[in-house]
């Protein structure tokens, strides 16, 4: 009896804990899959697009979406601040906004140029805010982008996030550090970051999901990734094209397998490029810091249909040629971006590792020089000595 009384005393206070009040059944939730943020620089109004999953579309229960139900619904709401939106949304939304599971955040180019600080703070301040989602910059009007259905993966957020994963593994076009938290980390270290740009392929967006699933041309009215947005101090300051993204990602340690046609010694050859090892070191030489980037790259001939080195000397020549190309490309990329004031290869961070550089202060960092050393190795040469 005594024990029972003790138990009651221990359990009863638990009843006043918040438990019962913040409970919500699953069918009372509006599951947000993708968020789009925009702002009007003139009025300062913030626009937010929420793409909600329609559970009844059967996207996961039966596999393919049933034609008459949209897999997602896009709600558009606006307010003077992002906070206000959490109230104004309920003018439209019959269920509780559930943002814990969203997969992608898209920001309009206009807003990215204006500044992302407000948005990032808003996400961080929320108790259920997630900063581990990719942040994308809209290369097309956001409203259209948020109202576009995607083929195959019917929830656009899933489609976008799986494409980013695919690109990260199978190309050097997307870096793995494209999440909101990566942005925050880089900005707090005063380093630039590159975020992917998504845009619409054609402007005639299909607003009915049944149109989308019944139309064979997957390219029409679809989202695609196109280049990257350079963000410095929470502001978009410029763009990189796909070619530049390759060298940016390679020099930053991207591990994706990228297939590319090279022109070596006057001949074309398509090779799979894969970074094996990367090392950055700093020396104090001739009164300025010299950052050396050592890259060890493996080139695979799996796709080399044009020609194949036949002798050891030919192979060595090819290897040296490739190393030279990569060195030149990275150096030229570095010089181009340095001229714009973007430290995209994070030379400053590498230089600061050196004690002497630190002693010479911030001025010394400005005169830092980059030296790229590439060691290339050709692998898988034995598959076809002579293409047909």
């Amino acid at each position: 009896m005594q024990a029972l009384r003790k138990l009651m005393i221990a359990v009863l206070p638990a009843v006043v804990l918040a438990g019962c009040w913040d409970k919500a059944e699953m069918n009372e939730l509006a599951l947000v899959s993708m968020v789009g943020a925009d702002s009007d620089p003139e009025t300062g109004r913030k626009m937010v697009y929420y793409q909600m999953i329609n559970p009844l579309s059967g996207i996961s229960v039966q596999g393919a979406p049933s034609g008459d139900q949209a897999p997602v619904y896009t709600y558009e709401t606006s307010g003077r601040s992002f906070g206000e939106i959490h109230t104004t949304i309920y003018k439209l939304l019959p269920r509780k906004l559930f943002v814990s599971q969203y997969r992608a955040l898209i920001v309009s180019e206009k807003m990215a140029k204006e500044g992302l600080l407000d948005l990032v703070n808003m996400i961080e301040i929320q108790s259920n805010g997630r900063t581990s989602v990719p942040l994308l910059i809209a290369g097309s009007p956001l409203a259209q982008l948020m109202k576009t259905f995607t083929p195959l993966e019917s929830v656009p957020a899933d489609s976008v996030s799986s494409r980013l994963d695919m690109l990260e593994r199978n190309s050097l076009l997307v870096d793995k550090n494209i999440r909101v938290n990566n942005l925050i980390e880089r900005m707090e270290r005063s380093e630039p970051i590159v975020m992917p740009i998504v845009k619409l392929i054609s402007a005639d967006s299909m607003t009915k999901s049944s149109d989308r699933i019944s139309y064979i041309d997957a390219n029409r009215s679809n989202l695609t990734s196109d280049g990257g947005a350079v963000i410095v101090n929470y502001r978009m300051v410029g763009k990189l094209d796909d070619e530049e993204l390759v060298w940016y990602n390679l020099a930053n340690g991207g591990r994706g397998r990228h297939i590319k046609q090279f022109q070596v010694n006057g001949k074309s050859v398509t090779l799979e490029m894969r970074l094996k090892r990367m090392k950055r070191s700093t020396e104090w030489r001739e009164d300025r810091p010299v950052v050396t980037l050592d890259l060890e790259i493996e080139f695979l001939t799996n796709f080399a249909t044009e020609n194949m080195p036949k002798t050891y000397e030919e192979m060595k020549r090819l290897e040296n040629g490739l190393a030279q190309i990569v060195e030149d490309e990275i150096t030229s990329f570095y010089n181009k971006t340095k001229a714009k004031g973007w430290d995209l290869l994070r030379i400053r961070q590498a230089a600061e590792q050196n004690r002497k550089v630190r002693r010479h202060g911030a001025d010394a960092l400005k005169s830092a020089e980059l030296k790229v050393n590439v060691k290339s190795r050709i692998a898988h040469t034995a598959n076809l000595s002579q293409p047909y």
């Binding site: 024990a3 029972l4 138990l7 221990a10 359990v11 638990a14 009843v15 804990l17 438990g19 019962c20 913040d22 409970k23 919500a24 059944e25 699953m26 069918n27 939730l29 599951l31 899959s33 999953i53 559970p55 009844l56 059967g58 996207i59 996961s60 229960v61 559930f98 814990s100 599971q101 997969r103 259920n128």
Partner: protein, 480 residues
């Protein structure tokens, strides 16, 4: 018993009949001798072996006073003679299945033991069926049960201490142990607890269990119970004590620790690798049986962010249009399952099976299609129900059922926080429990790493040390 002026044996039959209230199964048989004297033989028909009475008792009496040599009956059949309070002693004897012979010729009363209660043959216990290993189970006859144990342990150190408990029922209870293996302290404690029982009747070993268990207010059984003589024998050989109760096939074993409920006799009749695997499956099943419904409730009503997106969408789609909250849904389905299960037990076997199929499949399917519950709930309840049957001991299965409901309530009110609170209480409670003085969570609390291998894995026989007893038995043996 003789007496010149008072001869109680003359009216003994009448006195006994009166004392027993003229029972219908009291049978009186008379043999008239040549000299005109009669010999009376009476007994309770329902409790005795009539063949023995006919072939030995009556024939010997007849022979003795007919052509056979004198007193052959006395020499050939063992009997006892009541003294002092003859009527009471005779009544006691007769309800214990003895046959009373009143010999008017020699003026004596003999009590002959011809007890043979109605009992069923040795069968396989239904609740503890196994694939490989002995299929014998205890019966309601205590002597047969003793025989089943003796058959397995042919050792003079095997002891059976007899006690009679129950003011009205006078039930025979046997305390069994191996004198050379069981700690003296344990035997003394068991003896003390048994002799301290004050009750009217003992009809099953559960009656005894409730009196001698260490703690009453606990969902966890602190005594093992089994219908298998091989299990009892194995436990006796581990230095434990067993309690056999007349009239019930289930024997009690003490002490038994929490982790021993995950072991089964079958573990030792199979190869070590598969036995280990199954032991792990049992532990996983315990966790599933206790926590799956509560975690479902907590995750779907409080912590949706923990559910993977695709699963969340799928669950959310299933819940569209379901009128009840998840907690109520789970409770309704669980209670329904318990009802079906209880009904299935009581129903005749053929109907029982049909009922469980109708209940489980048809009802579940119909409820989902009618939009009353979501399909996930049916899966949750089914997983839980099936996992509950994996545990080898029935009484431990009941524990799981009780705990499950508690956790569902906690999850419904406080989510995972509630489950965690409940878990902490449960662990605290488990740590406080003792079974005949042995900590219930041995060998985890107190920590005895060397014994973990017996909990987590079933060691191959050649790797087991000969003569090694569980550490808590060794500990009790050392404590004098």
């Amino acid at each position: 018993m003789r007496g010149a002026d008072h001869q109680p044996w003359k009216d003994l039959y009448e006195d006994v009949r009166k004392a027993l209230g003229s029972p219908t199964d009291l049978v009186l048989r008379r043999v008239t001798l040549r000299g005109g004297q009669t010999i009376q033989c009476f007994y309770l028909e329902s409790m005795v072996d009539k063949q023995t009475i006919g072939e030995y008792v009556l024939r010997k009496i007849d022979d003795e006073h007919g052509v056979a040599e004198k007193d052959a009956f006395v020499r050939e059949i063992p009997f006892s003679v009541p003294h002092d309070d003859m009527v009471n002693q005779t009544v006691t004897a007769i309800i214990h299945g003895q046959c009373v012979v009143v010999d008017h010729l020699r003026e004596r009363v003999c009590l002959v033991d011809v007890f043979e209660p109605a009992s069923r043959p040795v069968e396989e216990p239904k609740a503890e069926a196994i694939i490989r290993g002995p299929h014998e189970g205890f019966t309601e006859n205590i002597l047969a049960n003793v025989g089943l144990i003796r058959k397995r342990i042919r050792n003079p150190n095997l002891r059976f201490e007899k006690m009679t408990i129950g003011k009205q029922s006078h039930t025979t209870v046997l305390l069994a142990y191996m004198e050379n293996l069981a700690p003296e302290l344990l035997v003394q404690e068991a003896r003390r607890r048994l002799t301290a029982i004050r009750t009217d009747s003992i009809l099953d070993s559960t009656y005894v269990e409730e009196f001698i268990q260490d703690k009453t207010l606990t969902p966890f059984p602190t005594l093992g119970n089994t219908e298998r003589p091989d299990v009892v024998s194995a436990q006796l050989l581990d230095g434990k004590v067993a309690i056999l109760v007349d009239g019930t096939p289930s024997a009690l074993v003490a002490p038994v620790t929490f982790f021993e409920f995950f072991t089964s006799p079958e573990d030792y009749y199979q190869r070590a690798d598969i036995a280990t695997f199954i032991r792990w499956i049992r532990m996983i099943s315990f966790v599933l049986a206790v926590f799956v419904p509560s975690i479902y409730v907590a995750a779907t009503t409080f912590h949706q962010e923990l559910i993977p997106t695709q699963l969340l969408i799928s669950l959310s789609a299933q819940r569209e249009g379901v009128p009840l909250p998840s907690l109520v849904e789970v409770l309704v389905m669980e209670v329904l399952f318990e009802i079906i299960r209880e009904a299935g037990l009581r129903m005749p076997r053929a109907v029982g099976q049909a009922l469980s199929i109708v209940g489980a499949i048809v009802l579940g399917q119909a409820a989902v299609e009618a939009g009353l519950t979501s399909a996930a709930i049916v899966i949750v309840v089914s997983i839980t129900g099936i996992a509950n049957f994996v545990v080898p001991t029935y009484s431990f299965g009941i524990t799981q059922r009780l705990l499950r409901f508690t956790f569902v309530f906690l999850a419904g009110f406080m989510g995972l926080f509630g489950i965690l609170c409940g878990l902490l209480f449960m662990v605290a409670h488990l740590v406080s429990l003792k079974t005949f003085g042995v900590p219930y969570l041995t060998p985890v609390v107190p920590l005895r790493l060397s014994e973990w291998k017996d909990v987590l894995i079933r060691v191959p026989r050649p790797a087991m040390k000969i003569g090694r007893l569980p550490s808590y038995i060794e500990y009790l043996k050392k404590r004098k």
